[in-house]
């Protein structure tokens, strides 16, 4: 687990150094010339991480909030790594699902796609190497690289082995196909969530029944009962987390935007790894306080906001810092994205039934599930609403090679944006594997797009 071990070291270092966020801010700022331009042999182990936390351009108060996210990260990875010693079973939870129920079984939920993001901390080439490993095992090249990274990471022993796996039928065929392969590869029993196509009461009920089946599956395979009080605690933490993040997303409608997309994206990653963790919620609260403070004063995250950008499809994992780069280079602020935007309904924790009932709805409103499990109207309505509410000047579409369902309606999306008069950049790339398009390619495309539209 060399990659995640290095990540844990860095998270710990970050956690302690961010005790004094102003100091960290200046250290990152002064050292910028050493890492900002490009990845080299010398900065390979720190560049991506430094840039993700703003590279000296995110205000200290935001950095202070990130600190709690770092703690939540390393707690999770350490718990998973030490599972054999502590006797707590590791349960993999696929990245588009949510892990509250696993916590309530005193098991360690683990995000198996983690190396796709944190692998970059050891160099941006790492996720590609892991993808190659999966492909050499026989995983289909067209499968989403996120899931191939799971297979590759397991094969390379970069992630802890699962006792159980929780996977799902959404958002795409890759989940359906590759997780059957992963089940074979790991030998672990898998619970498959089946996402409905529609978003109505029947569909929600069906998903809720899936959740009850998951509880049965876990009870049977972990030989223990669910701790409902623990679930209540986790869900209450999650409710607060969602409230703060939803407020941040709402505040980003203001002109100028009081937050950089770097903030919700970081929080999204925390949600993926350890939703319901007290540190995760504390991070969200601090983020909220920092953004709200700027919002009240009418201060933007960049001094002069020149351009408001809508980002559609998930963030490019090896290039999460693209948001800060766009802010620094062009004064272009991504005010809304596809994956960090929180729209989940709150969960009523008054009874066991209400919790499961509401969590089923909540999970179908998670990013990816929300837009992808049904008809194109799920995409268009969100796009339309965003264009109305966030006053974007343009849209950037990250066309991930694995998202065939998105590519399947690309004509409709293009046409819709054209009718709305929204200048749009459509990029062909892979979100986790820079062999398709590199950092330089992507920066060049964005620059040319801004220039050709007269934005800069």
């Amino acid at each position: 687990m060399q990659y995640l071990k290095w990540s844990v070291k860095f998270f710990k270092f970050g956690y302690y150094i961010l005790t004094v966020p102003t100091l960290a801010y200046w250290a990152l700022k002064l050292a910028r010339p050493l890492y900002v331009e490009k990845e080299t042999f010398l900065n390979r182990l720190v560049r991506w991480s430094f840039l993700v936390i703003g590279g000296g351009t995110l205000p200290p108060e935001d950095l202070g909030a990130f600190r709690y996210g770092l703690k939540a990260f390393y707690d999770n990875i350490e718990n998973a790594s030490k599972a054999a010693e502590t006797g707590r079973p590791v349960v993999w939870v696929e990245w588009v699902l949510s892990s509250e129920i696993i916590n309530a079984f005193d098991a360690v939920p683990f995000l198996p796609e983690m190396v796709g993001v944190f692998g970059n901390m050891s160099g941006q080439a790492v996720p590609s190497l892991v993808v190659e490993e999966a492909e050499s095992l026989g995983f289909a090249p067209e499968n989403c690289s996120a899931i191939k990274i799971t297979a590759g990471s397991f094969s390379l022993k970069q992630i802890p082995s699962p006792k159980l796996i929780v996977a799902g039928s959404h958002p795409c065929d890759s989940s359906v196909a590759a997780y059957q392969g992963i089940a074979h590869l790991t030998g672990a029993p898998v619970f498959y969530f089946d996402a409905p196509y529609w978003r109505n009461e029947d569909a929600f009920d069906y998903y809720e029944k899936n959740m009850w089946r998951l509880i049965d599956f876990l009870e049977k395979n972990l030989h223990r009962k669910m701790d409902w009080d623990k679930l209540k605690q986790v869900v209450e933490n999650e409710n607060r987390f969602n409230f703060y993040m939803q407020e941040i997303c709402e505040m980003m409608r203001a002109i100028p935007s009081p937050a950089s997309m770097a903030t919700p994206i970081f929080a999204w990653m925390v949600r993926e790894v350890c939703i319901g963790d007290a540190n995760a919620t504390e991070m969200a609260r601090r983020m909220y306080e920092a953004v709200k403070n700027r919002y009240k004063k009418g201060i933007g995250i960049v001094k002069k906001e020149k351009l408001r950008v809508l980002w559609w499809n998930p963030t490019i994992a090896f290039l999460v810092h693209i948001f800060k780069w766009m802010e620094d280079e062009f004064g272009a602020v991504v005010v809304k994205d596809f994956i960090a935007d929180v729209r989940m309904p709150q969960v009523d924790t008054s009874s066991q039934k209400t919790m499961i009932h509401d969590m089923a709805r909540n999970h179908l409103y998670l990013a990816m599930a929300r837009q992808c499990h049904g008809p194109v109207e799920f995409i268009l309505s969100e796009l339309g609403q965003t264009i109305e509410e966030y006053a974007p000047d343009c849209l950037i579409f990250t066309g991930h090679a694995g998202c065939k369902h998105g590519w399947g309606v690309i004509g409709i999306i293009k046409d819709y944006l054209k009718k709305r008069g929204m200048p749009s950049l459509f990029m062909n790339l892979d979100l986790f594997d820079q062999r398709h398009a590199t950092e330089d390619d992507i920066k060049r495309w964005i620059t040319e797009f801004f220039r050709s539209n007269g934005f800069v």
């Binding site: 289909a140 499968n143 065939k404 309606v409 690309i410 004509g411």
Partner: protein, 394 residues
């Protein structure tokens, strides 16, 4: 003189046919559908004709490429291109299924393009096989029933459903009988011919399909198309509708005797129960039938089917294939590679485009595979001779 296989060949090579035209004249509606998870009985019980969508007689993907991207599969792009060109104008409705990401998006594109027909229905099929999924499948069946009844102002009665189940079971039984003939040493029908039969019987009224199949069954009696030296193959895959593709494989020195393809076993394996529970009987048959890899956690059952028939059909090797950009069959190929190795079953995995040419490349790969199989047989026989009665299979 033309025989019944010539007729099925003719029916298979055209989008529409005179049986459908005749039925239209009599006022019967025709409903197109995608995927083996769409219950045909529901359409038939409404007095209509279910028609399996196909890409035959296509002229490329030019029009569809304005909607889809180049990383979407050729089957959906070719079909949608035909729809845009008006080739499916004879249809009165289309039922889409969330079979895969590519095909489920056709429901969106079709609506957005605003092309005929006006009845477009998305039928959700669960991705898991269990009691909860069965309840939901039955619910989807009832939604399809209401939708058809409302749009076409018809009534689907329990009696009509029962009658449809009986007819479709009869069709399944006949197909099963014909497939069983391929167990014989002397195979009476090639897979390429069988594919034509399948394409034909999914494009005509079921009553006619039964007549055709009865005739095919009689015609095949005593017929032999295989050569003694032919290797016997199993083929698995999604959408295969080019007869020439299977001919190419068989012309290399093989005969395909069994399959798990959309227009194969998956279409007719397992009958619907006639327990009088109407929609639930139908739901049960379609959810639990020989599965496609879109069904999660059901690989063991799928593969067990191959193992079960391996000896019965005398299968020498397995070909699995996928269309480019198909995640689902891409995943299945991985699993097949692992399991066939474990069970010492020779496997060839192919990737291709539907109507995409590349025959030379495929031929080379198939020839090499068959050669490998023959060498294996030759070696084994040689070992037998050398070892005499002490020979033991490894």
């Amino acid at each position: 003189m033309k025989n019944i296989l010539d007729e099925t060949r003719m029916l298979a090579s055209s989008t529409c046919n005179h049986y459908l035209e005749e039925a239209k004249k009599q006022g019967r509606k025709i409903i197109g559908y995608f995927c083996s998870y769409m219950p045909e009985e529901m359409i038939h019980a409404a007095g209509m004709i279910p028609y399996r969508m196909r890409a035959v007689e296509n002229d490329g993907t030019k029009r569809a490429d304005a909607y889809y991207s180049s990383i979407n599969c050729t089957f959906v792009r070719l079909c949608f291109n035909k729809a845009l060109a008006g080739d499916f104008e004879f249809l009165d409705g289309v039922v889409f299924v969330n079979g895969c990401d590519h095909s489920r998006r056709m429901y969106d594109n079709w609506r957005y393009a605003g092309i005929a027909p006006s009845f477009l229905h998305m039928f959700f099929s669960p991705h898991t096989v269990n009691a909860t999924a069965l309840d939901y499948f039955a619910l989807e069946c009832s939604k399809l029933k209401s939708s058809v009844e409302k749009h076409f102002q018809v009534s689907i009665t329990d009696e009509a459903l029962q009658n449809s189940i009986t007819l479709y079971n009869q069709k399944r039984r006949l197909l099963g009988d014909i497939y069983s003939m391929r167990k014989n040493k002397n195979v009476p029908i090639k897979a390429s011919e069988m594919l034509s039969v399948m394409l034909a019987v999914t494009a005509v009224p079921v009553e006619k399909a039964i007549e055709i199949l009865t005739e095919v069954k009689q015609f095949l009696s005593g017929r032999v198309v295989s050569r003694p030296e032919d290797l016997r193959l199993f083929i698995a895959g999604g959408c295969i509708e080019e007869r020439e593709h299977l001919e190419l494989i068989e012309d290399c020195g093989a005969v395909i005797v069994a399959d798990n393809i959309c227009l194969g076993m998956r279409h007719f394996f397992d009958e619907a129960q006639s327990a009088g529970n109407g929609l639930r009987d139908i739901a049960e048959r379609y959810l639990y039938h020989l599965s496609c890899p879109r069904m999660m956690g059901d690989f063991e059952r799928r593969f067990q089917y191959l193992l079960d028939i391996k000896d019965e059909y005398g299968i020498d090797g397995v070909i699995i294939e996928k269309l480019k950009f198909c995640d689902i069959w891409g995943g299945e190929i991985y699993l097949y590679r692992q399991e066939t190795k474990k069970h010492h079953l020779p496997l060839l995995a192919l990737e291709r485009e539907l109507y995409g040419g590349g025959a030379g490349q495929i031929k080379t790969r198939v020839q090499a595979f068959l050669e490998k199989l023959k060498n294996r047989q030759a070696t084994d026989e040689g070992l037998v001779r050398a070892a005499g009665s002490n020979y033991k299979v490894k």
